[in-house]
Each structure stands twice: as structure tokens, then as C-alpha cells.
Symmetry: C2
Subunit: 270 residues, 2 copies
DNA sequence: TTCCAGCCTTGATTTAGATCAAATCCCAGT
DNA sequence: ACTGGGATTTGATCTAAATCAAGGCTGGAA
């Protein structure tokens, strides 16, 4: 297993005056303090869980969270350690994974800007999380999440909806892992990356034909249940078949979306 | 794809006087009517979602649900159809799956007594569900689920917790599908079936060494991302190696749990 | 009881993808 | 610009599991 730098639980954070506990219920203020300004200006708030808390209650949110920036390849969550925090991804990409004792690893998903990481039922995390790129996170303790859940029913509903969505994604990924060929797996992965690029760059005119692939071949292989050689060969084949072009800068251009979709769903026999 | 009998949305149900809408908030009664007796006597209520609704509110639950019994091999949910209902499994086993256009299928999980089926975020079901054995279900419309969620905060929390647990299971299954060998997959599956037997037969002295396997080889193969031949050969090998015994009556006896666990987690090199 | 149709098992052969083995690319740091 | 080390690509070979192909078992219907 690879040794990676670990983000310490007590890492340096932007100073914040008085926010260990949640703002008490009833005592709400619309006044802008430095923290709530951070949330009000947040680029992903309208897309993520925080959207279930109104502007005038944003101080609660701001005081319950801390922003942290982490370099690529930093562990955010270590498999099996006590589950104490929850993270919103503000910028960048985080990978989630599970490992076998001998080091075999399965990446169960990538969390991009607007998504969250770290929900756990049990006392310890059953999965690990590590940054793929430079990542900006909002950290929140489970205790504070509990408080938000108790105080804002909309938050619980929003979280339920988000987890239900993640479960549907996981089921789709099980279909991929169990029943798709290498070519179908890579095509499906690229389609997901196009969707992701579209979500995070809604105004880019090239959003329909661009896939952002910040992760290495090792990560892609561990996500698709393949080896790096097979991933590389398959991408080369797609390039040769003029379905995609360019791998530079971790950015792939799609030349034929319909063909890619047909391949992903097994409609293309080749 | 296999043709299976479909459970019609308007199937015969136990007659019930007046329960299309949820019992209005505030109007609660502890009086026993035939419906609430069904819920009060329910064998799985203490284990499933309904446990978040107290005895004195059980009429609400009883009037929101209908019990249905279905024979083996009946479709409960058809992939892609409008998502309108939610089911609690009272008895028996239901399989959940996703399919590819050419008929390849991945079973994403089995729902046994006490578990639920049919949660969906989108307008249509992204998965199918079919009975494995004779199954007793409690059916509830999504509208009624919405009402329960709005009225009972504990219900939302319970559901969130259950879905989070399912997500963790799904991640474990992704590790299996993407990175385990055939032998490790089968051993992991048997361990899951032992746990399930233990849950549903807590007082059976043989619960530690018994696995209930009501599903066919086709279902096991579609769950593990293998072929029926590989599943059959692998089970034969485990029997030959004296790690399990007996396949009769869909009941497998475990001779060496530690060995099975070592195999499942890749600690046994053979 | 016999028969039949689905299951399940076992054997022989094939193959998709893994593994082993070099190059080559691509920057980040000097 | 130069350099070194990781990331990627490509080629040759191997193998776990798939596919193809019989048989055998079992439990319900006649």
C-alpha cells in the first residue's frame, strides 16, 4: 500500500472566533460576519447540501464548518479510523476507496466540487478518501451535522436525497464492474467525466465534448476494476477509432458522443 | 432477457376500509383496528423502518400500507417504470438488479426480511426487483412515504441511516466485483448469507454455521459478476476442501468459518 | 411410478484481460 | 536547457474465468 501524507485532524485552519458549538436555535442573525460571508460567496452552495439552509441562517453553517485546502495525494479519511468528520468538496476532486489487506484497492467513486464525503453509520470509516488534485474542503464534525439535522428538517431531506442518488450511482457502477467489458467500462467512465465537466462548467461552450480527467491511470484502473495497461490500451483504441482525441493536460476531447454512448451501453458490438 | 410474471399495481390486496390518505396529523388513536393489529404483530417491525413510529401511532402506518404475498420469480419493480411505491420485505427474499440492453444483468443486492426496496430519487425506477422465494411485502406509495417523512422526523433519520448503510454495503460489493477472485467472491457471498441467516434466526443454535441460499446459481453468478459454471466449480472446490458441506435445500453448512473468512479477504493464497 | 424441464455439475477449449517487460513521454526541479 | 523519476504507452506472453458441450440430478405433473 502506498504511503501518503495525511491531513492531521488538528490541521491549520482559517482563524474563526467562537464556533465550536452550533449557533443555538432561535438566535439567528442575518448580519454578515467573516464566516458567513465565506458561505454566502461560496461557489457551490446552490448545488450542494448547504442549499437547504437559507441565507438568513447561514451564520449557523459558517460557524459549524472550517475551510481547508489540501495538495494532491493527501489522505482526507483513513480507512478504519474513528468517523468524526464530514466534508463538502468546494473545489477539486477527491477519490473514495476500499482496500483489501494485500493492497488491492477499489475506488468506489470520485467526489467533485459540490459533492460531499465522510458520511458514516458506524463508529469508524469503512472507506478511505484522498485528494486527486488540489482540493478545497469545508470540514464539519459529525456532532455538528447531527445538530443541523435536528434543527433543519430540510437538511435531513436534502441529505437523504443526496445519499439515495449516491446509492443509484453505486448500483450503476456495480453493473459496470460486474458485467461490462474493458471498452464499455472506459467509455462509461468518460461519459461520467463529461457529465461532471458539464456540471462544474455550465457556461463553457465546449462542455458537451470535454471530459476532465485529473486522475492517473492507476486511479482510473482502480475505479474500473482493470489494470493500468488495459486502461491505456483501451484509450488508445478509442483514439485510433476517432471517437476521442488528445490526452494532454488531463483533458480529453470527445469526437463522437453517440458512438461513445453506444459503446458504454454495449450497443456497439466491436 | 427472461420473461417473468409481473405483479400488477392493482393486485388483489387484503381489504381495508378507508386508507388512501395518511391519518391526518394530530388525530392519533391507540385503538386497535384490524390494520394496526397487523403492524403491532409484525415480526420485523422492531428491526425495520417502521420501528421509528411508536405503538400509539401505528394506525397511521397500518393505513398507509397494504400487505401482499407474491410467489417466487414475480417482478415487484420493473426497471424504467414510473417510481410510485416502496416496499418493506416482511418475509422471503427479493433481488434487486440492473440490466444492459443486450440482457446482461447485475444483481445489486438481495433484500431479506426487515429490509426495504423501492426508494428512488428520479421519476422512474433505475433498477428492477423480483422475488426469489415466496415473499410477503408491505406496500406503501411514495406519496405516503413523503407524508411519513414530513410528520415523523425520526422516520427521516431512520431512513437516512438505512440508506447510508446500504451505500456502505454497495461499496463493499464494488470492492468484491472489481478486485476479488472467483473464490474470494463466493466466500464473501457465503459470509453475507451466514450473517443474514443469523439476523433472521437469532435463536437457532446452528446460526453461526448455517447459510441460507434460496437463490439459483444464475442469481448468484449475476450477483458476483461470474458465470454459473464458475460459481458451481468454486462451491465444489470449497466442498472438496472441507470448508463447507451440503448444498441440499438451498442450505449450506460451514465447516470452517475462519478459513472462509481468510479466503473472503484474500488472506489465503490458494 | 415414470417422465420431463429446469437446475446443477463437470470437462474441454477459448479468450479477454492480467502480467511481465521495455521504451517513451512529460514535467518539476536544478 | 538539462535531468531524473514517475506516468504512460506498447509489445509479448500467460492465465483466470468465460464459453462451449455433455451429463446428471431433482421435484412436480401425469
Amino acid at each position: 500500500m502506498l504511503k501518503v501524507p495525511v491531513f492531521p485532524d488538528s490541521a491549520p485552519m482559517p482563524p474563526s472566533p467562537s464556533a465550536q458549538a452550533l449557533h443555538p436555535a432561535g438566535k439567528r442573525t442575518g448580519r454578515a460576519d467573516p464566516d458567513s460571508a465565506r458561505c454566502l460567496m461560496c461557489k457551490v452552495r446552490e448545488y450542494n447540501l448547504c442549499s437547504s439552509i437559507e441565507d438568513h441562517d447561514v451564520t449557523v453553517l459558517a460557524q459549524a464548518t472550517r475551510q481547508i485546502s489540501l495538495p494532491p495525494g493527501t489522505a482526507v479519511i483513513e480507512e478504519g479510523t474513528p468517523a468524526s468528520a464530514f466534508f463538502n468538496v468546494i473545489n477539486g476532486t477527491v477519490k473514495l476507496f476500499k482496500s483489501l489487506p494485500d493492497g488491492r484497492r477499489q475506488i468506489t467513486g470520485f467526489a467533485d466540487a459540490g459533492q460531499f464525503v465522510g458520511l458514516s453509520n458506524s463508529r469508524t470509516y469503512s472507506f478511505g478518501a484522498e485528494t486527486v488534485s488540489t482540493v478545497l474542503l469545508c470540514r464539519c464534525t459529525h456532532t455538528q451535522i447531527e445538530n443541523l439535522l435536528a434543527e433543519y428538517p430540510g437538511f435531513a431531506r436534502h441529505l437523504l436525497s443526496a445519499v439515495t442518488h449516491e446509492l443509484a450511482d453505486a448500483q450503476e457502477q456495480m453493473l459496470l464492474l460486474g458485467r461490462k467489458t474493458a471498452k464499455e467500462k472506459v467509455a462509461s467512465f468518460l461519459l461520467d467525466r463529461i457529465k461532471q465537466y458539464h456540471r462544474t462548467h455550465p457556461h463553457d461552450p465546449d462542455a458537451e465534448t470535454t471530459a476532465s480527467v485529473p486522475m492517473t491511470r492507476v486511479d482510473i484502473a482502480d475505479y474500473l476494476g482493470l489494470t493500468i495497461e488495459t486502461v491505456s490500451r483501451t484509450i488508445s483504441t478509442l483514439r485510433r477509432d476517432k471517437i476521442i482525441s488528445g490526452t494532454e493536460n488531463h483533458c480529453i476531447r470527445i469526437l463522437s458522443l453517440p458512438n461513445l454512448q453506444d459503446i458504454a451501453y454495449g450497443l456497439k458490438s466491436i
